[in-house]
Amino acid sequence: MKIKGSNFKKAINSICSILVLASPILVSKSACYLFWGEPECPEALKQEIENR
């Protein structure tokens, strides 16, 4: 059970890292997403992109 738990934690960690890494890529490499509505881009992310 301990090994299972540890593997699960690793998998969650990897997924989370990919999702965190994806946000600046999503904003800086595209001008828009596929559909007609977009969530509000967080201020921290806006600044990170503008300072690049």
Binding site: V20, S23, A31, C32, Y33, L34, W36, G37, P39, L45
Partner: protein, 198 residues
């Protein structure tokens, strides 16, 4: 509904992993984007499956993905507004694609209209995004133009392929949307200036 799903996934991650505040914000944003876009694809797939035209939707989404991410366009404030307009957009393309045969005159007209719109108007990003630098704007324009050229080349190679004919209409309606999007942008700016003046 979408917010609830996003919040519960986000909470699950936070409970299992130590995240800095900035990373937590970024995580939530990515989740919002993925879940919101995926849910719309699924809903549209269900609607188009009911009318038996799912393949048109799939082709339209592929073409749209290749151009809209570089050119931007109209945006709606609410999830439902976005979903209804998306559905309406794909239905118009379906109707045009089935009912209007593409002869040389229509093809050239649509090509000129699409290219000119992208050259002069693209990109039109959402208000919720950061300001893009001039080199990045030029890069988006070039990628948008390349996507148009590639699709027209595909059409010239095989004009009987469903994907090729459908993509010509997707590009044309996307270009039309850029004009409407620019109009909305200019109108809102003018209104803001008037409000500040008062």
């Amino acid at each position: 509904m979408i917010d609830k799903i996003v919040n519960s996934i986000h909470t699950f991650f936070i409970q299992n992993i130590d995240l800095e505040e900035t990373d937590s914000i970024k995580l939530k944003y990515t989740l919002q984007v993925i879940i919101s876009e995926l849910s719309k694809v699924i809903i549209l797939l269900i609607i188009f499956s009911f009318i038996g035209k799912r393949i048109y939707l799939v082709y339209s989404i592929i073409t749209l993905l290749s151009i809209r991410i570089f050119t931007g366009g109209l945006h709606f404030k609410t999830y439902n507004g976005c979903l209804i307009s998306s559905c309406f957009f794909f239905l118009i393309i379906l109707i045009a694609s089935i009912n209007v045969p593409l002869n040389s005159l229509i093809l050239v007209t649509l090509f000129v209209f699409t290219i000119i719109s992208v050259i002069f108007l693209a990109p039109i990003p959402s208000k919720s995004r950061p300001m893009y630098s001039t080199p990045k704007i030029i890069k988006f324009k070039i990628l948008g133009i390349l996507s148009i050229l590639l699709h027209y080349l595909l059409y010239l190679i095989n004009n009987e392929a469903l994907y090729a004919t459908n993509s010509i209409w997707v590009l044309a309606f996307q270009a039309l949307q850029l004009i409407i999007g620019k109009g909305v942008f200019l109108y809102e700016n003018k209104r803001l200036k008037l409000q500040k003046g008062n």
